[in-house]
């Protein structure tokens, strides 16, 4: 047998092979690349079209508006993305965020110390996340859908109960209103919050052992166990991280509104799951990077904003987002199909 080593190390190009088989395979790989670049390309095209066709779209004021509007979706979508990487889902994000703003508002009545109020919101978010993770893992539930659906209901109910009938609980410490509603150099401060959370999640996913474990657990949970990864801890901590992101989202939203409310975060689970999927991550787990969640969040924000500027009513916006989700999921299905075709071709080419 031929023993020369053909392996190309570290970023090397694929070994050159002759024949139609290989050409076909490279055609597939181009199609695959296009599909994975799809969301970014679509976003750019969308921005160009909207700039040219919608008056007042590409103005500093409106861009700053969009950034502020997407901040909450983006931050929570980043946490949602980690959960989806593990093959899970967090339906409780909206209710979690609402509960956190209510608890924050209640704490503000006790103290106007911004750090204590922020700490309350972060802790509340992480605590709901911990409940999700712990019950899912140690309650041996077949799917996190169930527990996060339950906490969706519980957290929303708690938020309504604790706010004793007030739909808005006015008042937030100045630091929080500055974070949520202020601007620096014309850029909303909340945008910097998104950057900070994105940077953190990026580092975790790329450079930290925990992040590698998240990908491994999502890719092949059974193998992860046999390879000695503490799967249970990874899952619980991931749901806690998603909850923590809800806490951050709560700070941003209650700061912008200068209030807490049990009604905040309505349909946030839809927006964040949509952002992750539209951005091009996979429901099959273990695939995609956080860029997907960000691109998806921006896309949703941009579409909403444009539809607003065009005076399209809210009902149609919901329909539009739903249709886009279906298209995005279909492209994920197509991508997986192409990948398995490609695998077969490669196997053939290498004999």
């Amino acid at each position: 047998m031929e023993d020369e080593v053909e392996a190309k190390f570290l970023g090397g190009s694929p070994s050159v092979q002759q024949g139609a088989e290989q050409e076909h395979a490279s055609g597939l790989s181009v199609a695959l690349k296009l599909l994975s670049a799809g969301p970014v390309v679509i976003l750019i095209v969308l921005l160009v079209i909207l700039t040219l066709s919608v008056p007042n779209f590409f103005t500093p004021r409106n861009i700053s508006n969009i950034l502020a509007q997407i901040a909450v979706i983006a931050v929570v979508a980043l946490g949602q993305h980690l959960v989806i990487l593990t093959r899970g889902i967090d339906l409780s994000v909206g209710a979690n965020l609402a509960l956190a703003t209510v608890l924050g508002a209640l704490m503000f009545r006790v103290t106007d110390n911004a750090f204590i109020v922020m700490g309350t919101m972060l802790l509340a978010g992480a605590a709901v996340g911990a409940v999700n993770g712990l019950v899912y893992v140690y309650g041996r539930l077949p799917h996190p859908f169930i527990i996060t659906l339950a906490t969706l209901s519980i957290a929303r109910g708690l938020a309504l109960e604790l706010s004793i009938g007030h739909t808005t609980m006015r008042g937030m410490p100045a630091t929080i209103t500055a974070i949520g509603g202020g601007t620096s150099y014309g850029v909303p401060n909340s945008f910097f919050v998104v950057l900070a959370v994105a940077a953190l999640v990026f580092v975790i996913a790329r450079y930290v052992v925990w992040g590698r474990w998240i990908y491994a657990v999502g890719g092949q949970p059974d193998a992860a166990r046999r390879m000695g990864i503490p799967v249970n801890q990874v899952l619980v901590s991931t749901y806690m991280m998603s909850g923590l992101c809800c806490g951050v989202g709560a700070i941003v939203l209650s700061g912008r509104a200068e209030a807490g409310s049990p009604l905040y975060g309505n349909l946030l689970e839809l927006d964040t799951i949509a952002a992750v999927i539209i951005g091009g991550a996979s429901f099959l787990g273990g695939r995609g990077n956080l860029g997907h969640a960000l691109v998806g969040a921006v896309m949703i924000g941009v579409i909403r904003n444009a539809l607003n500027l065009l005076n399209v009513n809210l009902y149609f916006q919901l329909i539009a987002i739903g249709v886009i989700i279906v298209l995005a999921v279909e492209s994920d299905v197509l991508r997986n199909h192409l990948e398995s075709r490609m695998r077969v071709k490669q196997a053939g080419a290498l004999g």
Binding site: M1, V5, V209, G219, R226, R287
Partner: protein, 250 residues
């Protein structure tokens, strides 16, 4: 036969009503290939999963170099120097070969942090994985692609190479050639021989008598959870005895 590096004594394992192992024992020695044979459902995979820490034994002992060890988790088995190539490979399709090699025992720093919070030493893992791929003469289309995009033989080779990265005492392979064609089987057999020559005790589960005759220094046969026989130096003349033991026709 040198001093055994792994010994299993009186192993029992039940899954509810199924009594999968009924007092099985065997030894494995360095520099030797032990074939573990038996029909479908005989208990081979169960036995090696107990040794690999996937299942706990209900009764019986596992000894490493003469010392009793408690192997309750896969990590414990690996810590004791036992590497396993599972029947389903247990690869992560979404990761690269190098990421697969180190998954679950990443090289990381700084040491004073809890393992999960440490930073990945990616460059080191990549270069060491590349060295192993090189040493084992495994051919891959590219080293930085997801394992999902590789062929059955390449995936098998990656799983074997992963065991080779960490192999110190025992390497167990559960039907490593079952899904492979002739050429790819040949490559995996060569890898097995290489692991043996590097001083590991190799335990090979297979249904292929040709491979047993070619590679095995000893063969242990299981039938319905019992150990029904052991043959030294399986060869073409005693191959028939082995087959008779496996199927149970005397």
């Amino acid at each position: 036969m040198s001093k055994p590096v792994l010994e299993v004594r009186g192993a029992h394992k039940r899954f509810g009503a199924v009594h999968a192992l009924k007092g099985v024992g065997f030894v494995a020695c360095r520099g030797e290939v032990l074939a573990l044979l038996g029909d479908n459902g005989a208990g081979k995979s169960t036995l090696i999963k107990c040794v690999s820490g996937v299942h706990g034994l209900d009764e019986g002992d596992i000894l490493i170099e003469g010392e009793k060890v408690a192997i309750r988790t896969p990590a414990a088995a690996r810590g004791a120097g036992i590497e396993t190539v599972y029947q389903d490979l247990a690869l992560f399709d979404n990761l690269t070969p190098a990421e697969n090699f180190y998954c679950g025992r990443e090289l990381s720093f700084p040491r004073w942090l809890p393992r999960g919070l440490r930073l990945l030493a990616s460059r080191k893992m990549n270069s060491e994985a590349a060295a192993v791929i090189d040493r084992l003469k495994v051919k891959l289309p590219r080293f930085d692609a997801q394992v999902a995009l590789m062929s059955g033989g390449q995936r098998q080779a990656i799983a074997v190479a992963r065991a080779a990265v960490f192999a110190r005492k025992v390497v167990i392979l559960d039907e490593p050639t079952a899904a492979l064609g002739l050429r790819e089987s040949r490559k995996v057999l060569n890898l097995i021989a290489q692991l043996r020559d590097e001083g590991n005790a190799v335990i090979l589960i297979t249904h292929n008598m040709e491979h047993v005759v070619e590679l095995a220094d000893r063969a242990v046969v299981l039938r319905q959870g019992h150990k029904v026989g052991e043959i030294e130096k399986p060869n073409r003349s005693n191959q028939q005895d082995l087959v008779a033991m496996i199927v149970g026709a005397e």
